[in-house]
């Protein structure tokens, strides 16, 4: 199977969907002539031209709103945010308009729009460029939010997102763009709302999303090698819609669960999952559901400190040892 990067996997998804549906248009800052700030869209403008791959000014509220308006008319815009941190200047459009227009119109309108870009800390760019707003999005009925971590997932989920008739917000990660993985040639999609067990295990469930999945997989290897603890790693992939069954099935098997994420703790995704687990399989639990999140402060710049602000494998190992 070919091995390609996460960045290439997303590009392939965009390219294939541009070919598949003439209404798809890729739009954003530097996506066309510059080939993408993070080179995700490299070569697409050259291949598809001005109509299908469109450079926008630095004007998120304007161009995201414009994309939402166009989507109401049946265009299928795939909008790139150079960083998800910049979404806040377009928040009114993304929350009031995209999420609510179907509801407020009694179902007369829908918005088949995708808004994608990196949402991560860990690159020493300070608080304004390190936000992870998946929990904010998931808190908004009408929106869907996915956080793929492997090239395979990124391509399959992106294609489903583009074909979806509701607004889907895709959280990528600049630290993942260069990572490689196996991606089959040819057509495949991964449905939204289906989690993936990235490692099977019997002793404890590490439930996670985004880059924290890789942190958990690394921790699982350490725990297996040094402590004989067999971790199951459940990658949500999609936050909303949420695959509850896979989470609950894992917890019913292992009887212990830790949620690991790079999101902040208060009202983070892990808070929702912890609530779900105690609600739906309290009797299966042998220990409290624990959580590991980013340290609860704005993203710090100082490089060695930021490493400690985000979850890291030894931290997961220590947490597992508390209850294993």
């Amino acid at each position: 199977m070919p091995v390609i990067t996460y960045r290439e996997a997303i590009r392939h998804a965009l390219d294939e969907e541009l070919a598949r549906d003439e209404n798809v248009v890729v739009m954003g800052e530097e996506v066309a002539q510059y080939d993408g700030a993070y080179k995700v869209t490299e070569g697409l403008w050259k291949k598809w031209g001005d109509k299908r791959v469109v450079d926008t000014p630095i004007s998120e509220a304007g161009f995201i709103g414009m994309g939402i308006g166009a989507s109401m008319l049946g265009v299928r815009p795939v909008m790139e945010l150079m960083f998800w941190s910049f979404a806040y200047v377009a928040w009114d459009q993304m929350i009031n308009n995209a999420a609510s227009v179907r509801y407020m119109s009694g179902g007369k309108i829908n918005c088949p729009i995708v808004i994608r870009g990196p949402a991560n800390g860990g690159t020493n760019v300070g608080a304004t460029h390190s936000h992870t707003p998946e929990n904010f999005i998931a808190n908004t009925p009408g929106l869907k939010v996915i956080c793929p971590v492997t090239p395979y997932d990124a391509k399959g989920l992106m294609k489903s997102a583009i074909r979806d008739n509701d607004p889907v917000y895709v959280m990528e990660n600049t630290l993942l763009y260069g990572m490689s993985g196996e991606v089959p040639e040819g057509e495949y999609t991964i449905p939204l709302g289906v989690a993936d067990v990235k490692r099977t295990g019997s002793d404890i469930s590490l439930i996670c999303h985004g880059r924290a999945v890789l942190t958990c997989l690394e921790a699982a290897e350490i725990l297996a090698a040094q402590h004989g603890i067999d971790c199951e790693v459940v990658d949500l992939r999609s936050i909303r819609p949420l695959d509850e069954e896979t989470i609950l099935e894992s917890v019913r098997k292992t009887h212990k669960a830790i949620y690991v994420e790079e999101n902040k703790p208060f009202c983070g995704v892990g808070a929702q999952i912890a609530s779900l687990i105690q609600d739906k399989c309290f009797d299966d639990l042998d220990a409290p559901v624990l959580r590991i999140s980013a340290v609860d402060a704005p993203a710090i710049y100082s490089p060695p400190l930021e490493k400690l602000q985000l979850p890291y494998p030894d931290q997961v190992v220590a947490k597992v040892l508390e209850i294993a």
């Binding site: 109509k51 414009m66 308006g69 265009v75 459009q93 009694g106 869907k144 008739n165 509701d166 289906v194």
Partner: protein, 367 residues
């Protein structure tokens, strides 16, 4: 008091009745414009009456932003719409809805929160929609609809359709960043959008001179984006149509945007709950506009002068509008409220349509 009355109002001595678009107006269509304006007035009056409640009973929640005094704008603009011309507006949206052909029943029932409302009781006063009539709402956040209007125009152009999107806003919206971003995009991408500033002189309770820094007029700001702009006297249906038609043609033929500022006046407050409506505006100002600048009276008088209608025919139009408004009340009162289960419908297309994409994963988290 810094009121709108202190500012000289735009007056263009041109007789716009002579414009080709108005010369082409049949007697029937002139009367239709009159009756649509009257229907809007009577609808708003009836809505206002029931908004206040009757006999200790309340019928509506939320806000009610009445359009009384501005009718010539929505109706004049709607009268120019062809198959690919669209409309989107802010929260003072009842008039545009009726002007594009939505029924009084569905509009009134929406105010009553009934399942028969145009948005099934889910949108309320500020959120009317009829995409089948090229009407895209009905938006509650000041200025938030302006990028959407640019986007609808973008969609028309993308699909190779010759059309336009009339994007309405109040004079308060011109200070929102989203509007300026929409202007820049419209100019940059050559979008067939017409930004229509319905300038009633007050952004809620703050007069134009207390809320905007500007040169010449609010529309003049478009000059900085190299967008053609114009100023319109909103009391004259002929002028609204003649000047808007130029913008529509610019959209159709040149695929270029326009900004128009239409001077007008609202007879009531920002919303019905605007208790200070008569405090921030001198009472004689309100009376003067009601007496001398009521667009319905002016249009009616014009049509009487032209022998298009008689006073008694006008009476009939008015009585019909009152009866239609009353009947929409009865329709609303007889309509059911949405069911509890309806709260979670119309959130996700894929769930409502029970598609494959709507069946994987949990979409709602209520238990």
């Amino acid at each position: 008091m810094n009121s709108v009355a202190e500012k000289p109002k735009h007056v263009d001595p041109t007789d716009f009745a002579a414009a080709a678009i108005n010369q082409a107006l049949s007697r029937e269509r002139k009367i239709k414009i009159l009756s649509d304006m009257v229907r809007i007035r009577r609808f708003e009056e009836k809505a206002g009456e029931y908004y206040k409640g009757k006999g200790g009973q309340t019928f509506m929640g939320g806000f009610l932003h009445r359009y009384d005094g501005q009718e010539s704008i929505a109706v004049g603009c709607a009268s120019l719409m062809g198959p690919n011309d669209h409309m989107i507006t802010a929260y003072r949206d009842h008039a545009h809805a009726l002007a594009v052909g939505m029924g009084m029943n569905e509009c009134m029932a929406e105010l009553f929160g009934r399942a028969t409302g145009c948005s099934k009781g889910k949108g309320g006063s500020m959120h009317y929609f009829a995409p089948d009539k090229n009407y895209w709402g009905g938006h509650g956040i000041v200025g938030g609809q302006t990028p959407l209007g640019a986007g609808i125009a973008y969609g028309l152009k993308f699909k190779g359709l010759t059309g336009s999107c009339m994007t309405f806003m109040g004079d308060g919206a011109v200070n929102q960043g989203a509007y300026h971003e929409a202007l820049n995009l419209a100019g940059l991408f050559d979008l067939p959008v017409i930004f229509v500033i319905e300038n009633n002189g007050y952004s809620m309770g703050t007069s134009q001179c207390r809320s905007s820094a500007y040169k010449n007029c609010l529309a003049y700001r478009a000059d900085g984006y190299d967008i053609v702009w114009d100023l319109i006297n909103g009391w004259d249906v002929y002028e609204v149509r003649a000047k808007m038609q130029i913008a529509v043609e610019r959209a159709h033929k040149e695929c270029r945007p326009t900004v128009v500022e239409i001077n007008t006046y609202r007879h009531y407050g920002h919303s019905v709950s605007d208790a200070k409506a008569k405090v921030y505006r001198p009472e004689d100002e309100i009376e003067r506009y009601k007496q001398h600048f009521d667009p319905i009276n002016l249009w009616k008088n014009r049509l009487v002068e032209e022998s298009v209608v008689t006073e008694s025919e006008y009476e009939t139009i008015d009585n019909d509008a009152k009866a239609e408004a009353q009947s929409s009340i009865e329709f609303s009162l007889a309509s059911p409220f949405p069911e509890f289960e309806d709260i979670t419908k119309d959130v996700y297309f894929e769930v409502d349509e029970f598609t494959a994409a709507g069946r994987t994963g949990r979409h709602f988290f209520n238990d």
